[in-house]
Every structure is written in structure tokens, then in C-alpha cells.
């Protein structure tokens, strides 16, 4: 089991944002969380990644309880994520966005960097080579010297996913990766996630607003509404659930 979450709860003031959330994500699983706006999806991600501390409940990564670790410790433990509103290092080059992500495996210290020792030069060359190889896997090598912020939207999303994967995570959390994409970009994204799922030994948890993305990708899906899981199961069954239809029809965008 890659990620096991039990009774995760979080309130802000009087509002319960997430209530008794459970999840069992297998080692190479691909599951989704759907739900209308404000249902608490992103809060779940923020609880898993240590942005917020939960009021109660536990998060286990593999065999390790990681519930109250800090965000950076969780990232080093193997949880990587992307953001609904892309958070690249916009003024850094595409290459540096990836090389930066390898900081934890840079095998040199301050002394080596200060004096450019042989260790530094060897390790920098390795990081650079690995970064380029990684970019090539995502079709971004031609863009390596450009500023990340200048890429078109779809490629920024791809770079953000590539950057998250560069840390070598066990669990990848994707927060509405298809947000703001046109249908063609969504198609590309679905293929990208499928490829990541196939090629990388990790579990993926996906928040998505667009049902077709979830239907195509996820083995299992949970529906959140007002912080509570109102349904879970295979995507095709879940979308026929009357509770789910009601939750979705309660707002402007009806399920596809």
C-alpha cells in the first residue's frame, strides 16, 4: 500500500472542510477524487502534503506514519504534487526547474560548491545529464534554455508534472491537471498521465473537475461533497449514483 489515509478531518473555524476522509492507494494505483467546487478536494491534498495539519486522522506512506511531518520532509519522504494553479519557478530556465528538483540528491556540500571541487564538478555533471534525460522523456528538451514562465500553458503543466517526478516520489498528487485546458490539451494530458502511470513505479492520486478525465484514467474514484465522501467505486458506477448527480447538478456544470 503506497498511501493509507484514515479518518482525516480538518475544520477551519466552524466549517468542516474535510470530514473522516479515508483512502487506500495501492503501490501502482491510479485513483481520483472528484466533486464540485469547494468540496474539500484541494484541502485533502494540502493535508497529505503538510500544508495544513489535520485535526485528527492519520496518513501513512508505505509503512511509515507521516501525519504531522512538515511539507519539505513529506516531499523528501516521497510525496510529490502539482498545483491547480501551476506553480513553476517561472524565471528559472526549464532545465533549472528540473535540476533544482534534484537538490536532495546533489552529492556535494557547501564546501564543494564554494571551491568547485572535483566532487562538485562530477555531481553537477551528473545532475545536468539526469535533468536533460528527464526533460527528453517529457519532450521538453528543446525548451531547456527557455524561461519556464514563457512556455505555453500545456507545456507548463507538463513541466510541472516532470518536475514533481524528478524528485523520485512514491506517490504523485495531481491537483486538477486539466484545469484551464482546451480539449486537445486535455487529450495530451490524459496520454501523458497514462504514460507516467506505465513508466514510473509510483501511485497517482488525481483531483479532477472534468469527469471525462477521471473516467478515462482512474481505477477507482471518490466523490467529495461538503468535505464528506458521498460515493466511491469504479468511475462508471459512481457517476450513475443519484447523490453524485445531485451534487454535480447543484452547480452550473453538469457531468458529461
Amino acid at each position: 500500500m503506497a498511501l493509507r489515509i484514515a479518518s482525516l478531518t480538518k475544520s477551519f473555524g466552524g466549517l468542516t472542510a474535510v470530514s473522516g476522509f479515508n483512502l487506500e492507494l495501492g503501490d501502482r494505483d491510479l485513483q481520483g477524487i472528484i466533486g464540485p467546487n469547494g468540496a474539500g478536494k484541494t484541502t485533502v491534498f494540502n493535508l497529505i502534503t503538510g500544508v495544513y495539519a489535520p485535526d485528527s486522522g492519520t496518513v501513512r506512506l508505505g509503512d511509515r506514519e507521516v501525519t504531522r511531518l512538515s511539507s519539505d520532509a513529506l516531499a523528501r519522504a516521497g510525496i510529490a504534487r502539482t498545483f491547480q494553479n501551476i506553480r513553476l519557478f517561472a524565471q528559472m530556465t526549464v532545465l533549472d526547474n528540473i535540476t533544482m528538483a534534484l537538490h536532495a540528491q546533489a552529492g556535494y556540500g557547501l564546501w564543494d560548491a564554494t571551491f568547485r571541487t572535483a566532487t562538485f564538478r562530477r555531481e553537477e555533471a551528473r545532475l545536468l545529464a539526469e535533468s536533460r534525460e528527464h526533460l527528453a522523456r517529457f519532450g521538453l528538451l528543446e525548451r531547456q534554455r527557455e524561461q519556464a514562465g514563457s512556455l505555453p500553458y500545456g507545456e507548463q503543466r507538463r513541466l510541472e508534472i516532470a518536475r514533481a517526478l524528478a524528485t523520485g516520489p512514491k506517490v504523485l498528487l495531481l491537483d486538477e491537471p486539466a484545469a484551464g485546458m482546451n480539449p486537445r490539451e486535455v487529450e495530451e494530458l490524459i496520454r501523458l498521465i497514462q504514460q507516467v502511470h506505465r513508466d514510473f513505479p509510483l501511485a497517482i492520486l488525481l483531483i479532477e473537475h472534468q469527469l471525462p478525465v477521471v473516467m478515462e484514467l482512474c481505477r477507482e474514484v471518490q466523490v467529495l461533497d461538503f468535505g464528506q465522501t458521498i460515493a466511491s467505486g469504479a468511475p462508471r458506477e459512481v457517476v450513475r449514483n443519484p447523490l453524485v448527480i445531485e451534487a454535480y447538478l447543484g452547480e452550473e456544470e453538469a457531468p458529461a
Binding site: 520532509a73 535540476t99 560548491a113 562538485f120 514563457s150
Partner: protein, 349 residues
Amino acid sequence: MSTAPRPDPAQPLPDTRPSRVRFWMVCAGVLALAVPLQLLVDAGLFSDVLNPYYLHVLTIIGMNIILVASLNLLNGYLGEFALGHAGFMAVGAYTAALLATRALPPASALPPVLGTVGILLVTLAGAMAAAALVGYLIGLLTFKTVGDYLAIITLGFNMIIVNAIQNIDFVGGPRGFTGIAKNTNFVAVAVCLVLTIGVLRNLVQSTFGRVWVSIRENAIAAELMGVAVARAKNRAFTIAAAFAGLAGGLWAQNQQFITPRSFDYMKTTEILVMLYLGGMASLSGSILGVVAYTLLMEVLRNLLSAFAPQLAEWRMLISPLILIVIMLTRQTGLLGNREWRWLRPRQGA
């Protein structure tokens, strides 16, 4: 999943041709000029052309570049707004002055040249260590703060340091610290300058520098990439303070007389003006900003004293004015974040 290379005309690719002029060549050039220049001025040769005043201006430029480049680590690369750099400089200056006058034998009691070099090494190492320690503590204090709060805390620190020194009679209080031997010259400053730029370049072009810039670009994303943000920031504060301390140590032993007021927020402001004039997150910008600002101020000083001596003090209005003009017209400074080619990383094949 692969895309064809699509050149984007709006975003010209940076010039990545390898530079023929390399970093070490520029450093060697600076030192190769500094030594004969110093010797000629010391010997009083060609004194109509090479007068000691020019050497003095060059020395000031060298020390200011150390200050500006080290502040660049915080305000440019790390993206914070630290307002206490002169405070770290003061710590270095007073530490070096104390070591030189109270702890070490005078240079006259030691073998020539080597004795002075030894005194310099000890006093500057002490200055750097003391300033680094203070920088580390300030870093601890500010590790949860960003933006305005960090600016205010560092400004407060600057004022506390100046006021504290004013109240310590042992170091001369408000009267200042006198009787410091002139242990530095232009060559010593040039050596320190070359080492500082080299070390800062090495750091910002390493994983440490990439982490600092990533914090500037998006602290939350950096944290979720596994960066211990507080530690990385503290590291930058410690290193920046150490080099400000180095500049202070040189300053004390060049001016031979320091007062607390020489390190108040006016000095910090001057460092900031030079930094923003040159451009943030660029060591080239730091060098250019200092050279341009110092030359401008010296030219103005000479012009005013020659033609309008009654306006001489108005010179000091120029520096805040420059800052306002930069902010209104060219917020990126002269160079933006570009580097001269000899300062750029050498991209592997």
C-alpha cells in the same frame, strides 16, 4: 509526447556560445593590473597621472562590490528584502579593528609584507566569522517572516547595532574607533574582491543557488519539492553577512577610523541603490552598479567642488534620486538578471 523544436520569436533563446574570456582570466587581469598600479602609486611614480586619489576610488569600488554582491544573495537571488547590510558590515569592521589594535602585534613588530598579510588574514577571518554568526542569528529570528516583516526586522537590527556600538565606550562609542593601522591597500581589496565574486558565483551556480532562486520564485512549490526553506534562507543570511563582514574588515583597515554612523541605514541605502541600479540576481549587475554609482558620485563631487562648492552637500540627494528614477523607468536595473558572458555558467555539451 515529443514536440518538434518550436523557436518562439518573442522569446529569443539566450546566447549560449561559450565565452572566450573566462572567469579566471578576468580575475588574473584585475590582479595583474592591481599590483603594478599599487607599486607605482606607492613609489610616487607618474604621480600626475596615477594619483593616490584614483587608487582610493578603486579601493572604495572594490569594497562596495563585495557589499553589493553579498546583499544580492539575499535581495536578488533569495528574493527577500533585507535592509540591514551595513549592520553586518559594522560587526566586521569593529571586530577587525578590535583584533588589529588590541589582540595582534602591530605590523612594525612583524616581518614586512608577510606580517601585514598575516594581520589581514586574522582580522578578516575574525570579521567574517563574527558577522556570519550575527547573520546566522538574524536568520534564525527571521526564518518565519518574509516581505515587509523581514525588511523591518533587518532594519531594526541595523539600528540596534549602530546604537549598541554608540553606547560601548570600549570601542570609542559615538566618537568612533581611532588608531587602526592601514593594513590594507588596493591589492588586498582586489584579492578579496576576486575571491568574493568567485565564491558567490560558485554558490549561485550550484544547487544551493538554484534552491535560493526557487524560494524567490515560489516558496510553497520549493517547500513541496523538499526544500527546508528556513534552513536554506538561514544559509544565505549567514553567507551574505560573512561577506559584508569582510567588506567591513577591509573598510576599517583602509579608512583607519570608523564611527557607528558610517554603518547606519544611510550606508544600507547606498548599498541598495547600487544593487538596484545594476540589476538584481546578477553579479555582473552588482559590479556595474557599484562602478557606475561610485564614478557618478565622484565626478559630481569634483564638479561641485570646482564650480559650486556651496552645493557640495546636495550631492547626497543624488543617490535617493537615482533610486526613484530606476524604480520609475527601469525596474530591472542596468543589466536585469543577465550576466556578462565570463560570469555565466559553462553549460555542459
